[in-house]
């Protein structure tokens, strides 16, 4: 029988562990510092986007989220689970009156809470700084961007958990998560662009391939929350706006949700069936 109380206990432990994790704290301080700096820079200089106040800062923070949150989410998810398995704490925990689902979900929610804290701190500090400067504007879009950043963090964490099911060593999990991060952040974009140019790929194909990347889903949906059109993304953005219109935001959000749910279920199924892996 599934007991949510066990999930809560394990999540609380994971949250506390994350807050004691030196690397996590460095990530958080760096993210918050850069968010604050971007809000200040955004106010003092023009950007290619015609935003003001919260909208301008949200636009700047999107790029920061695209770099930082996948890195933290992937590495935290993959190394935590792989590390617990490698050092034997996972096996010892599973020998207690808990089940796999409670353990995996507890760990997931605990780490998710710590990621939410990082995002909230970064966006919160930037938001407070804007308010102190007397800025107003699209606060709703700003908050929506925060929520979408939460979803991206969950998706990256799910992917990290899923990757942890395939590696035996923590070092491999770290290497794998950094590779996937590079793939999603840089190689994915450049690869699609390069392939599109060389093969003269139709614009709709470029769009659909790009939408397989959870980072692009976040980018599209968050831009849509702070402005109505995707013109800023060029011809692909124009195509997407024309083709999908108002349905694009819910579709991109559903895409992000699928990136959360599918890898997490996959990770749970793999861990439940990998008794020899856990108990090696």
């Amino acid at each position: 029988m599934f007991e949510f109380e066990n999930v809560r206990i394990i999540a609380a432990k994971e949250l506390r562990d994350s807050l004691r994790n030196r690397w996590f704290l460095i990530f958080t301080v760096a993210f918050a510092g850069l968010a604050l700096a971007l809000s200040a820079i955004g106010q003092s200089s023009g950007t290619q986007l015609r935003f003001s106040g919260y909208g301008r800062t949200a636009a700047s923070l999107i790029n920061l989220v695209l770099l930082f949150i996948p890195l933290i989410g992937l590495t935290l998810g993959a190394t935590n689970l792989a590390g617990d398995r490698e050092n034997g704490t996972l096996a010892y925990l599973l020998a207690q009156p808990v089940n796999h689902a409670e353990v995996i979900l507890g760990k997931y929610l605990g780490m998710a809470a710590s990621l939410f804290a990082t995002i909230t701190l970064g966006f919160g500090l930037a938001g407070v700084a804007l308010a102190l400067q007397g800025n107003s504007g699209d606060v709703g879009g700003y908050v929506a961007t925060i929520v979408l950043a939460y979803l991206l963090a969950l998706a990256m964490l799910s992917l990290g958990f899923f990757m942890a099911a395939f590696v035996k060593k923590t070092a491999s999990a770290l290497g794998g998560s950094l590779f996937v991060w590079l793939l999603l952040v840089f190689i994915g974009d450049l690869g699609i662009m390069g392939t599109a140019v060389v093969t003269q790929m139709p614009i709709e194909a470029v769009f659909f391939i790009a939408m397989l990347n959870p980072l692009q889903l976040f980018k599209v949906s968050s831009i849509l929350t702070i402005q109505a059109s995707l013109e800023v993304l060029g011809p692909v953005g124009v195509y997407a706006t024309e083709q999908f219109g108002a349905a694009l935001l819910p579709l991109a959000t559903i895409g992000l949700l699928l990136w959360i749910i599918i890898p997490l279920i996959g990770a749970l199924l793999l861990f439940t069936r990998q008794e020899k892996f856990v108990w090696s």
């Binding site: 066990n6 599973l94 009156p97 008794e275």
Partner: protein
Amino acid sequence: MITAKNLTKRYGEAFALDNVNFTIEAGESVALWGANGAGKTTTIRCLLGVHSFDGELMVNDVDVRRNSKKARRMMGYVPQEATFYDMSVLETLTFYARLKKTPLPRIDEVLAQVQLADHSRKHVNALSGGMKQRLALAVALLSDPPILILDEPTANLDVAAQRDFIHQIQALNRQGKTIIFSSHRFDEVMALASRVLVLDKGKLTLECPPPALVEKLGLQRWMRLWIPPEQRDSALQVLQSQGYAYRPNAHTVYVRIGDAGKVAPLRALESAQIIIEDFDLLDGELVPSEEV
């Protein structure tokens, strides 16, 4: 009561357990005995319900395969080498107490029971191997389960820590707890077990009281003595004259421990003014060849 019927565990084509059947009554202390790979640890993992298996395994009328979590509520588990999260002793016990739905005041009781009360604020990484095993025992005892399962619990402990740990388990058995432990240490089995289940390549080959192991398995106990080189020949003469089986080695002498126990050859050498610099026991070793 624990019953296993046709307990079978396969890894691909290989059988880790092959149609194992046994019954363990409440209050018994049962040793799972066998060489590495015999199936001791696999049996324990099946009992805990953390390994899938074929056959039937019942713990106090709970079907382990169908409700392993409920079965685990009745069992406390001490692994060979417990690994804990990055917390203090008290935080560790609090975490597991919450998972086991144990009232937090119980933590003080188990800390006192395993003699870790003075170390509760220590970080787990600051504990010695013996203390870590005692902490694992404390975790196992939190919910006061009727059954304790121990997987080679003293394998990584020094002699003094082994003795302390065994005394604690003996006391728990006297209090009525059912003890199931795996071991390949003959001394441990003799001290703790009321019955031995002998496993060999996944099969249960023998069930007997511990003293019968010596006879039924041709098991002999040996000790290794460190004797100064200048007294070595004299020592061998004494051992021979007293009828002890022995085997000289490069720097040591192996002496078989007979029915008179391990002190007898030591006393014989001591009374002949032979200095014994050190000794250790080769628990559960099969008969060494080239016996003299």
